[in-house]
């Protein structure tokens, strides 16, 4: 291993900033008001959903609308195992179970549907959310006899800490996958699936596996939010907003770098929350316009601006230097 990589200034600076953010987030529930922690929780939830959506759909280009499905599967797994009347398992086990059930669902569904290309895959995943939603409505009314599940409650603070841990693990997983051969394989699939297959990439396996890994993180978040909400019903758990929002957030933030979706989701979720309180009737309008402007003028998203600005800035500096030099030359 090259040690110098870990002692370079850039690496230390990045590590320092990350540590500072982590410390801030980890101590936030101790001094933030309850409602502030609630907002923070929602933001973290959206960051995880966005990062896990990008994990699969970013490099492969397969547009999944199934985020709400895996979120909901996690939430319902939790609702059944962590009932108000008496939890069947301790919370950590329930949360992991939520992720695993989502993983298994995604694996099976992926095997069947990841042969579908482009629009057809998007349509199927959309239908999958609807199917689960309707199935749970039917199941609750006809088999269980009542709509909705009461879940054993946890506080904002507890949920915040759990979601923070999940966020760190999601980012770690996303980072490692990006740098691994799995990441390279996904990228090649996104570029040209046929060529990737002929170069020895087991395209089905790569797609199904990463689809399932991303679903695991979505399920884990769903399983954490259910006890926080204390109540789950199909329209809450399988809300299509959880499918659409992460895509908007990823586009907003930019998908090239890992921090793009994080920044996009953080800004988007925060401003959604505050705008909705202040302009309850117009906030969606403002969002729509902002999104259109970003797609037109910033195809690389917010973080796509960074290299652009860097270029411009260094160009400017170079020009200033040159200007200074020629002035000097003129003087001598």
């Amino acid at each position: 291993m090259d040690i110098s990589k870990f002692t370079s200034k850039k690496f230390l600076a990045t590590a320092g900033v990350l540590l500072a953010i982590l410390v801030f987030l980890a101590t936030f529930p101790t001094y933030g008001s309850n409602s502030a922690v609630g907002i923070g929780l929602t933001i973290l939830m959206y960051i995880i959903l966005t990062v896990s959506w990008v994990m699969f759909s970013g490099p492969t280009g397969y547009m999944s609308l199934a985020t709400a499905a895996f979120f909901g599967i996690g939430a319902y797994t939790c609702a059944f195992l962590y009932q108000k009347s008496g939890p069947l398992l301790p919370l950590p086990a329930v949360i992991i179970a939520g992720g695993l059930v989502s993983f298994i669902f995604a694996f099976v569904v992926g095997l069947v549907t990841l042969r579908l290309k482009g629009m057809y895959f998007a349509m199927f995943t959309f239908g999958f959310v609807m199917l689960l939603n309707q199935f749970m409505v039917y199941y609750e009314l006809n088999i269980l006899g009542a709509r909705g599940q009461r879940v054993f409650p946890i506080t904002n603070q507890t949920a915040f800490y759990i979601v923070l841990v999940i966020l760190v693990l999601t980012l770690l997983a996303a980072y490692l996958i990006r740098r691994s051969r799995l990441g390279l394989a996904m990228q090649s699939i996104g570029e040209n699936e046929e060529a990737a297959a002929h170069m020895g990439v087991n395209t089905t396996m790569v797609k199904v596996l990463t689809f399932a890994i991303s679903a695991f993180f979505m399920g884990v978040v769903g399983a954490t939010m259910a006890p926080r909400w204390e109540y789950v019903d199909p329209s809450v758990a399988f809300n299509m907003l959880y499918s659409f929002m992460p895509i908007l957030m990823a586009v907003f933030g930019g998908m090239r770098e890992l921090y793009g979706p994080v920044i996009g989701a953080a800004i988007f979720a925060y401003s959604e929350r505050t705008l909705r309180l202040r302009f309850p009737y117009h906030y969606m309008l403002a969002f729509g316009i902002a999104l259109i402007l970003i797609i037109i003028f910033l195809p690389g998203g917010l973080t796509g601006l960074v290299p652009n600005l860097k270029d411009k800035l260094s160009g400017l500096i170079a020009r200033l230097r040159k200007g200074g030099q020629s002035e000097q030359n003129a003087n001598t």
Binding site: R181, Q187, N192, A195, A197, H198, M199, G200
Partner: protein
Amino acid sequence: MPILEGQGVTKFFGGLAAVSNVDFHVDQGEIVGLIGPNGAGKTTLFNLISAAFPISSGEIRFKGQKLNGLKPHQICKLGVARTFQETKVFANMPVLQNVLVGAFFGSPNRVSWADAAREATQALEFVELSAMSTIPAKDLTLVNQKRTELARALVTKPELLLLDELMAGLNPTEVSESMELVTRIRDRGITILMVEHVMKAIMGICERIMALHNGEKIAEGTCQEISCNKTVIEIYLGEEAHAGN
């Protein structure tokens, strides 16, 4: 001993037989050319060998092993690599990254990062693209995109290489360079089956030629035999080529 063998190879698209009852063989160390008019079934035959489509009937054997029912990535790992008629580079990835995909996934064994990087660099050196390794593949000229595909195929350590119109769209200098490159690949012990319309290239480097027409094999033989074959001249080469020979 043939490295690749096909018996009664047939492919239907709906009611159309794109490849019909073709028997063929490629011997170890040969460069075999596959010629024929557009729509003759040349690329379809390649797609059947590399398992892009399932075969309708007949069988294909590589080193005695039946290929029927295998997936493209399995064929590649067995040692059959290919390039594409219309280049299919990973457009937004740098050239080196393109080749790394082949290095990592093309061989049946697990390849370490260091080995993959070394092999990819060597392959780029071999096709003389080292200077462009960091450029996104979409920014390359056609000939360099074709060379990227070639490096990407070579790095999978194939025993048999399928070249689908490597020379199409290249200028005369590039054609000569590519012919030399193909000969160098053969000198490394890799058997080559190539589809080509550039007759100069076919006649210059192939040891044996197969001609297809409407999905059927109409002739097979040395360059001399093929260029004098009546049917081939009538259907494909035309009188001029024959006269010029």
